[in-house]
Subunit: 292 residues, 2 copies
């Protein structure tokens, strides 16, 4: 018998993966959670039917969510990850020796527990003494923070259910207040092929609170369209003005000094998408020419 | 009733697309050919069950196969496309005013005819007076050419069936002889996540004939893993030494001056893959750390 897991990434396109077994499957109260064993990508975390991370390609997303900001900030000491219960983002944060404390604010404790049990190569860093795991609402955690963090990383699921609040202008304004002077935030902001309205909205929302707002890209095979965007908001420091010589060699498989700058060199249709974020009329418009 | 077309891109992962109808389906003598209507990507050309091009995302592959080389060569006048029967590569070639003749050498005349009928936005340029369509074996066409072309573009299918010869060191040596002084070739060289052995082999094969050999990347949603590689071989000119000011604005949706350089900024696992092409032992080795 062959078992295939299929995620419909849009109503009209999906990814399908051969699986050998289901390690855990449950409703957590927040969402449906599963970890399955796939032949192509190793173990895979699936929330509400959507691929969140896999053993084989998680390095792209986690490295790119973290290292651009942490190499742009001159001295990141306190970092908070909103969401990211698998622990992969925290693992990358801890590769920076300046980091004294890394806080994980994850709403669903069962995600953390399941990943600790079944995805140790991703979650292992959660046991590091520099890490504080807080199970609770990330929106509220940020709302209550005042100049506490050097970097805020928003490692959310798709903008449905509990994650909707993590994509709002009000949340980004709270992130700004939670940052120390010189602070930086990065949010995952979905696919420029499939989620153009969301990218326009998050661009506009982050720009409203941050003088430096920049979108960059990375290739994640298991995410819709394979091309993923991240949006960085910064109070002072510009990732494109970093001295390349100051970016140290790190034990990474995707991010490096060249990728730090190359990821901001946007295809024309993505550049137009970012520029169109200033035009309010486009918020509910249809996909632009480049959209698939 | 819902109809879904699924391509298994590897034995363990696939893409699945909702379809409304099949416009043409036949065995051509060379391969199985189909053009289907999909909801996500518009019309889609499928050869031997593998997605070749779609109306919505074809711009990425065609622009990136063409414009890097044609903006690196100072005066490309004669260009040949090997394969590429859909006409999209020729369309992009003709955007360069210096081009006097563009030859299409496609082995399967039925691909050209079907695309002329059902994919006019891609194939339309084949009717341009600067274009010569030659139905025949591209390997032989190149073998018989002596200093005829400024640029050779290898727009092949996957390395199976009729296309196998287009990935061999002997073919690249023939391409070199077919080029005029200062000539450049580019080949599509598959996914760095899924086709690592092929990338090592084509790197080694192209390096054996070309003093400048460089791999670059682009994001194509309908191709396996979403991340696609191209390998450029050049007799003289280096794409990274092009004066950015000499790259004119063009009517493109993906390629631009920034992408010209950014596409060569390789993720660490891809850089290691390219560097490992010098090590013969790796030719039959297993996937490296970065592979999915």
């Amino acid at each position: 018998m062959e078992l295939w897991f299929t995620e419909l990434q849009t109503p009209a396109v999906g990814i399908t993966c051969k699986t050998s077994r289901t390690l855990i499957e449950e409703h957590t109260g927040y969402q449906h959670l599963a970890i399955i064993e796939t032949e192509q990508f190793g173990r895979m975390l699936v929330l509400d039917g959507m691929v969140q991370t896999t053993e084989r390609d998680e390095f792209v997303y986690h490295e790119m969510l973290v290292h651009v900001a942490l190499n742009t900030h001159p001295n990141p000491r306190r970092v908070v990850v909103i969401g990211g219960g698998d622990g992969g983002t925290i693992r990358e944060v801890l590769k920076h020796p300046s980091v004294e404390e890394a806080v994980l604010a994850e709403i669903d404790g069962r995600v953390v527990e399941a990943c600790r049990q079944f995805l140790p190569s991703i979650s292992g860093a959660l046991s590091d003494p520099r890490v504080t795991v807080k199970i609770g609402d990330g929106v509220q955690h940020i709302r209550e923070a005042r100049e506490e963090y050097d970097v805020v990383l928003i490692d959310s699921t798709e903008p449905v259910g509990a994650a909707v609040g993590l994509f709002s202008p009000e949340f980004y304004a709270d992130v700004r207040k939670a940052l120390r002077p010189g602070g930086i935030m990065v949010a995952q902001t979905e696919s420029p092929f499939f989620n153009q309205d969301l990218i326009r909205r998050t661009q506009a929302g982050i720009r409203a609170s941050f003088p430096v707002t920049r979108l960059y890209l990375a290739s994640v095979p298991t995410y819709p369209s394979g091309l993923w965007s991240f949006t960085l908001g910064s109070l002072t420091h510009d990732p494109l003005q970093v001295d390349p010589a100051a970016i140290k060699d790190m034990p990474t498989k995707y991010y490096n000094r060249d990728v730090h700058f190359g990821a901001f060199q946007l295809p024309t249709f993505v550049r137009q998408l970012v520029e169109s974020a200033d035009a309010p009329a486009s918020l509910n418009g249809s996909a632009s020419a480049g959209g698939a």
